[in-house]
Symmetry: C2
Subunit: 309 residues, 2 copies
Amino acid sequence: MIDLLIEKIEEKQNPTVVGLDPNLAFIPTIIKEEAYERYGKTIQGAAEAFYLFNTKIMDGIKDLVPAVKPQIAMYEQWGTFGMDVYLRTIAYAKAKGFIVIGDIKRGDIASTATAYSNGHIGQVTIEEEKFSVYKEDFITINPYMGYDSVEPYLEDCKNYDKGLFVLVKTSNPYSGQLQDVDLVEGGKLYEKVGALVSEWGEPFIGKYRYSSIGAVVGATYPEQGRKLREQLPHTFFLVPGYGAQGATAKDLAGCFDKEGRGAIVNSSRGIIAAYSRPKYKEQFKEEEFVQAARTAVLDMKKDLEEVLA
Amino acid sequence: MIDLLIEKIEEKQNPTVVGLDPNLAFIPTIIKEEAYERYGKTIQGAAEAFYLFNTKIMDGIKDLVPAVKPQIAMYEQWGTFGMDVYLRTIAYAKAKGFIVIGDIKRGDIASTATAYSNGHIGQVTIEEEKFSVYKEDFITINPYMGYDSVEPYLEDCKNYDKGLFVLVKTSNPYSGQLQDVDLVEGGKLYEKVGALVSEWGEPFIGKYRYSSIGAVVGATYPEQGRKLREQLPHTFFLVPGYGAQGATAKDLAGCFDKEGRGAIVNSSRGIIAAYSRPKYKEQFKEEEFVQAARTAVLDMKKDLEEVLA
């Protein structure tokens, strides 16, 4: 699966993934009104507003961006209506040619991990018949419980040609509270996790020397990103933290290799809520949120190109 | 919320939570046939088989057990049908007087953690109107991303009188891979996490000297359980690993305090699939799965009583 992601990135000449993390606070009124008119100011109405918003955003950027990353929490909060929109968002994204990274950050063991994995990237079995449910191409997972919480996903990655991004060094302010602790055996916890991810990923290395088992490495920690890039030459990075969380293109340059490969950079609100950002507010009205998103994608592309040149 | 859990445990004289982790492999044929007849051998049929099974199990043990713990992965794998059954299982459990611990092990930051928290234990807001969605009493969460991935839940615990169990030392074979690493600052990673959980929980200490912010501590690691019990006198433990995962009552005795309080022990398949276990196979037919579950609950209760006396 990593080969396909790398090829899509090259095709679009853009190592960007757009995070589909909608929030009612920035969904344009015109979208909300349409959804509320049909389904009321209800949970269903809110969920449908997300779907309408996502499809319009995706239509507007599909020629520019190789991948989207729906954040499942934003949908899960609306119960079954939200999960239905999560599923339909994935289906729509795939129909439009995007690679889909499901940002689910699941972490559990044995039969539980198997259930998550079968549902999201594998297949569930009902009386010998198999069904694909969520159909993401990649998902994010949490490593705190150790190898047996990862193994079922590796199995499905092999059987269904899928990929993972395992949390290694996250972009949030307190990520160091546990991830940066110094270990008696040497190095920091996130480095140990990085080494494990690399080891787990060895059987999944594709034709561009990167593995389908990747790592989440936050753009907000440039030094750690650079070090991890050196230590993990075959591990592809999903890099959050650019834009809204404060990291610049220069901060994340170290996550890429010398050929300008090896990472895909996420921006969520920075793109999908661009119309409301100070930078674009003058230029675009609320109804022009798609054009604003498109402009933000192009600006981000240029920004990344400058440091990766 | 912890006070209520402790009072329910005393009322039933039974520190047991029954894990509702159904699996088609052990749902009795009579239940599956009923669900398939109505909804086909489909995802919906499978999800409805889970619901039928859960309600029968809950009806059969409601006088014996203070709490149930649905494992969301088992439902999430079936997409929206599964999530609907997860929601209805919670509603049914609460109507029958159980405390509900949602085993969701979520872990994410900022607006994402807020979405999970609002959906599961708080309220979501749609144009100033508030809605409760999942309505668990407690949920489990993953600490790997640090304090800012926990803070939104603490806020909702305060506002809605709910509780958490944070993963500290899990019961699985590889839990030590990261959790047991020795830290330069002293102690092991899980001990550091335990200390943080205790610190986060201080404002939530109730009338029985335990906090609504608890910890997951696996029964399969008796030495660590005993040590954590000493180090964290105000942290209530959710203890998985008894029975199917191999831990005995003696192994987990150290998770309790001298008054026999401070922990609740989970058993999932050991109870809900009791009819299929060697121990009960002779005594119960498949259709008698509820009586088998009831007997398994009573046997577990006796087993715990013996070591806690």
